[in-house]
Amino acid sequence: MKPPVLKPPPVNAPVLDMHNVSVSYGAHVPAVLGVDLTVRPREIVGIIGESGSGKSTLAHSVLGLLPKTARMSGERFMLAGADILKADRTALAALRGPSAAMIFQNPMTAFSPIHSLGRQLTDLLWRDHAQSGAQKRARIVAALAEVGIPDPVGRLDAFPFQLSGGMLQRVAIAAALLMQPALLIADEPTTALDVTMEAQILHLMRSLRERAGVSILIISHHLGVIAEICDRVAVMYAGRIVEEGTVEAIFRDPRHPYTQALFACEPALVPTGVRRLPVIAGEVPRPGGRLCDFAARCAVKAARCLEQAPPWTRSGEFPVHHVRCHGSALSGNVPSGRGS
């Protein structure tokens, strides 16, 4: 069964447009199943999900970073006007940088330990044959200053180990911005950082959307991070998007029992004084089930859930909000956080 297209008639062509995209490792290990996802210009879209939900595979598929055993299929997979499904390795390599750039979870392993940062950032500009070394250097210094690195000129000779994690993550963002990408993909960009630095990096990413006009696809399992910067959120479970909507829709009126369970587990939302935190019993199943993947852990499952696959339906009162669940229309009125 094919879910309906989410997208209202586009004002601007989306930067990323995925329709019914699946990724499997080898022939028998599906990781992402029938995903529909769009990212419009200057939009920040978040993906939430537990480990094993396929969110990283999804991000890597956009950049062509999947291992050779991975197979991609789908009806449409366009990145900044280029067809990812038809692109060969060379074409994908050409897209990396100008079309989409990525920030990884651990900035310490994102750089080579034995080359200076200036050297590594200069290497990124290899395509710009016309520019002199001094011109490239000026661009790099400007990019480092843009992301808030003190003494950017002095940092060119520094090695990664000489910078803190937060500073290095800033350099990674500067490296991505040097490519002037249409889409910035951030895979858990603040998980390895302290809270004080996390707040600063999130603030930086938000301001870059304003200043550089970049679209951002951010992957996180931290609900606070998602709430802080996203316009729209997709919830992934066992390789499928089970709920998607504006950040207000997802946080104010989560409809899928899995999303509701995630919110219930979030320690920041559990009232202070409650000592025993709730958990979701069981584990994320392997993707590829025919029926609802969450049924085994679901507290409100019905007989229907064990008979047919849940439909992708419009839900709730928010303008953009879809959910893949049989009972979603009935399960509203779940308090999402405080103040609702």
Binding site: V195, T196, E198, H221, A227, E248, R338
Partner: protein
């Protein structure tokens, strides 16, 4: 003063490493921990909080002798260790267990989980290493028998964490020092690990020293909180008091930095800018003044002393924040000053 004697008490514990450079030309020793005093009472859950570089992991290791303290003293049940020799710490470690930050790397990759759990009993010569008893041990942390025959790489993050807890529990320690016990775990699983700590405390009256930077977790589990900045205690007190009404601007900044899962409460500006200064170049005066929104000229020149306040509270600040009058709702941040 205290109702109960401390199970373990560190008094003015310092750790220093030699300065950089060649012998004879070395710089001054770098002090990683500077006179940290901290006591954990039986059955108490104390959370040690700080950013990376604050010395929180070093403190946990120094307390159990994995890093040699350069000065200070450690007392168990009110009896001070005679010295910091390996022998003294070995006696201490019979009563205490350490949970490492990354459980899988703390396991032997070629040893099965069951054997790994039995090993402390074998070494200490206490408790039974019979299969039935190891199965019971695994059951305490919610691991099924089938996991005992597995190798560490075949466990998920939450299972590995439970196996590490089981190993720690095998010799029924009175104190468990846990370094970032929920780092890298999904929210759906981290509650399980923390609930397990509460169960263990209930059953064995085990005390915990949790070393973490995850404040949203601390809020639910801590009895007492100690905040470290550049290897010094800047604030400590009962968890409810510190979280409700932080007195040190650094504590306030940490609390405000935690992103709230509510899109309606986004922050216009990050609550604190900059990063932890290097211990090689400690700021003069109050070490937080370089990032403090309330810093005054006095803070630059004069280091504040950690002063005792009523209600088991300690603060090291010249201009501490006033006690909050209104009690904010759970997780709510107050208007930023």
């Amino acid at each position: 003063m205290r109702k109960q004697p401390a199970l373990i008490e560190a008094d003015g514990l310092s750790v220093a490493v030699p300065g950089r450079g060649l012998p004879f030309l070395r710089g001054a020793p770098l002090s990683i921990l500077a006179e940290v005093s901290l006591a954990v009472r039986p059955g108490e859950i104390v959370c040690l909080i700080g950013e990376s570089g604050s010395g929180k992991t070093t403190f946990g290791r120094a307390l159990l002798g994995l890093v040699r303290p350069s000065s200070g003293s450690i007392a168990v049940d009110g009896v001070a260790l005679p010295d910091f020799s390996a022998r003294s710490f070995r006696a201490l470690r019979r009563q205490a267990a350490l949970l490492f930050q990354d459980p899988v790397s703390s396991f032997n990759p070629r040893q099965r989980i069951g054997a790994m759990m039995a090993e402390p009993r074998h070494i200490a010569g206490v408790g039974s290493t019979r299969l039935a008893d190891i199965v019971a041990l695994a059951g305490q942390v919610g691991l099924a028998e089938r996991f005992l025959a597995r190798f560490p790489h075949a466990l998920s993050g939450g299972q590995a964490r439970r196996a590490a807890v089981a190993r720690a529990l095998s010799v029924t320690p009175r104190l468990i020092v846990a370094d970032e016990p929920t780092a890298g775990l999904d929210v759906s699983v981290q509650g399980g690990v923390l609930n397990l700590f509460l169960d263990i405390r209930e059953q064995h009256d085990t005390a915990f020293l949790l070393i973490t930077h995850n404040l949203s977790v601390v809020r639910h589990i801590a009895d007492r909180i100690v905040i470290l900045y550049l290897g010094r205690v800047v604030e400590s007190g009962r968890a409810g008091d510190v979280l409700r009404s932080p007195r040190h601007p650094y504590t306030r900044a940490l609390l405000d930095s935690e992103p709230v899962p509510d899109p309606a409460r986004r922050r216009a500006e990050p609550p604190v800018i900059g990063e932890v200064p290097s211990i090689a170049r400690r700021p003069t005066g109050c070490e937080f003044h370089t990032r403090c929104p309330r810093a005054q000229p006095r803070c630059r020149s004069e280091a504040p002393v950690l002063l005792d306040e009523p209600g088991e509270r300690q603060v090291a600040c010249h201009f501490p924040l006033p006690e909050a009058v209104n009690i904010p709702a759970p997780g709510r941040r107050m208007a930023q000053s």
